[in-house]
Amino acid sequence: MQFRALLTDAYRQLSAAKLFWVSLGISVLVVIGFGSIGFTETGVSIGFGITEIESEFLNAGSRWSRGFYIGIFSGFLVNIWLAWIATVLALISTCSIFPEFVHSGSIELTISKPIGRLKLFFAKYLVSLLFVILQVAIFCVGIFLCVGLRIGEWNPMIFAAIPIVATFFSYLFAVCVLVGILTRSGITALLITGVFWMSLWSIQTSEAVLNRFVTQQQVDIERFQEGIEQTNTKIAKINKTSTEDDERLVSLEERNKRFVADKLEAEESLESLTQWHDPIAWVLAVSPKNAQTIGLLDRWLSDPDGFDIAAIMNGDMRSFENVEVDEFDRTTRNARERETRKRMQDEYESKSLWYVVGTSLLFEGFILGLAAWYFRRKDF
């Protein structure tokens, strides 16, 4: 009964804040926009047939249409709309829930009722989250219908976005709650949560950039080592019976020296980069992993045909070019880049659910624990 009372109260509070309805309205518009995209025999129609773009790859009969359509959802609507815009709107809507709750004159009325403080705190936290879940659920129902009606795929995994986005939002909301309880100011809570979010983004971006360099150096070192081994094999095969052989030997030895020097340089760079990368990787390990949490949806909705809209947006056209994914031609720059990207992708996809969500929830639990401890002990 108490939980339902808190739930009803949270609904009325959010409902009174027009932003909740604005956010829901925009969500519906986004779904309608998504649903307006369809496939014809000759291409893609947009705006329920108002415009049509001819395409030999994306059309009603194409094997890539499914990946493209799902990719718009997981790559754009979730990554950009739900993970950024809707999250900002949700934070603005909910940032004042706890400051209002603990406001002097208001908290006395609630806390003096026959309900434990911890139960009250966590119930309030959960009902606040429920409204983000409600928003995402409505959004997902719309997307589910669009995907089903447009490409005939009734994919329940679309609803995986609900726990993923709610979990993602909860990392930020925990900080918002802690600051809101400490300062009793919704604006301060919102600002500090924003700073925290940007810090997370900076940590994740720094780690990704440094990881790219580290992986690149590792690929280079392997390439140079392989070059050294190949050169040594060739040197061993030379009989030194002619002047040509002597010249070839000198040339190979020169080449070998260059490989050794390059390898040494790459190793030094790797060592230097690792010094920077490892601490940031540790910080990331114990921080909420927003991007990776949202990225789970990409992993779970991956296209069996290998179509990856996010990869295409990053300039990786393998799915169009039919390039063998396992290829590692060490002689070209493109191949080196591709290998680096592939290894990073493999590493990213090898991260367990525990690493991505578990450690993030541990962080969230710590922050919430602090807030709950403060709420329990506080004299209001």
Binding site: Q2, G105, E108, L109, S112, F380
Partner: protein, 303 residues
């Protein structure tokens, strides 16, 4: 039986501010008990401790027979905090339902009580209007209705008449008297002395975190009862010996017994002295309060 019985309540905030210094008091069932004191004396702190809003540094005692802090007991306690603030987005009816639901009152009971209390407190017709549109007095009435929603055995009201007009105050006084008739205990926290004097059975005066006086108003003012005899013309030469004090043309006899002044009146009449008036005078609650406060250096909490 005591509705509230606490001993040796201490509250020390960080920074060594002693808000309460060994407060002990009893509130009986079926009585209206008034706690008065200047601002910063610790009245609201004591009430908040009883309602588990503030943690005491030390406390022993019971409320409705259960240890202070027992959450289940709070179901039978109605509480109106000072400067309470209802969510602006709720209507009066929703406010009553929300807080009653938090007290685990069933929906059917809530609906019945809300309707009855809104009418009883003069808020009929306002139940579906947002509380943001209510006047201060209406919010106080709604606050009292909220406190009564759980059909409390004990009602704790912190400054209940704050912002209420004289008519509203009278209605609240009448309501409190009715609640007393119903056998409920009412704990009133107020600095409006005349209000308390009119309605309270017993009072306690708190100054600097300590209860300096406690009892019925009669017992507390008993020693101050006197008769003032105002005369016309010059004061008799024996006046100073026959009474306790002489002020201008008034003789003052300290006694709560009318028999004590009869010989004096007989003597005055025998001497043909014109008596303008004979007034039994008792110290008011305000006098009592001022005496309690004057006995201390400053009214606030102790650092």
């Amino acid at each position: 039986m005591e509705a509230i019985q606490v001993q040796d309540v201490h509250k020390t905030y960080r920074g060594k501010v002693h808000a309460l210094r060994g407060v002990s008091l009893d509130v009986m069932e079926g009585e209206i008990f008034g706690l008065l004191g200047p601002n910063g004396a610790g009245k609201s702190t004591l009430v908040k401790i009883l309602m588990t809003v503030i943690h005491a540094s030390n406390i022993s005692g019971t409320m409705l027979g259960k240890l202070i802090g027992d959450r289940v007991t709070l179901r039978d306690v109605g509480y109106l905090p000072e400067h309470h603030r209802f969510p602006y987005y709720l209507t009066g009816n929703q406010v009553l339902h929300h807080y009653a639901a938090m007290s685990k009152i069933a929906r059917a009971t809530r609906t019945k009580r809300a309707s009855s209390l809104l009418t009883r407190l003069g808020l009929h017709g306002w139940e579906h209007k947002k509380v943001g549109t209510y006047s201060k007095g209406m919010l106080q009435r709604l606050g009292i209705a909220q406190a009564l929603m759980c059909d409390p055995k004990l009602l704790i009201l912190d400054e209940p008449t704050d912002g209420v007009d004289p008519v509203g105050r009278r209605e609240i006084r009448d309501l409190l008297a009715e609640l007393r008739q119903e056998g409920r205990a009412v704990f009133l926290n107020s600095h409006l002395l005349s209000e308390l004097e009119m309605v309270c059975d017993r009072v306690a005066i708190m100054v600097k975190g300590e209860v300096t006086m406690q009892g019925t108003i009669d017992s507390l003012t008993k020693d101050s009862k006197r008769y003032e005899i105002e005369l016309k013309g010059s004061m008799p030469t024996w006046a100073k010996e026959a009474c306790d004090t002489v002020q201008d043309n008034t003789m003052i006899v300290r006694s709560d017994d009318a028999e004590a002044i009869q010989p004096l009146l007989d003597r005055l009449r025998a001497e043909q002295t014109t008596i303008i008036s004979v007034r039994p005078v008792r110290e008011t609650l305000e006098d009592l309060f001022m005496r309690a406060v004057d006995n201390t250096d400053s009214p606030g909490a102790v650092q």
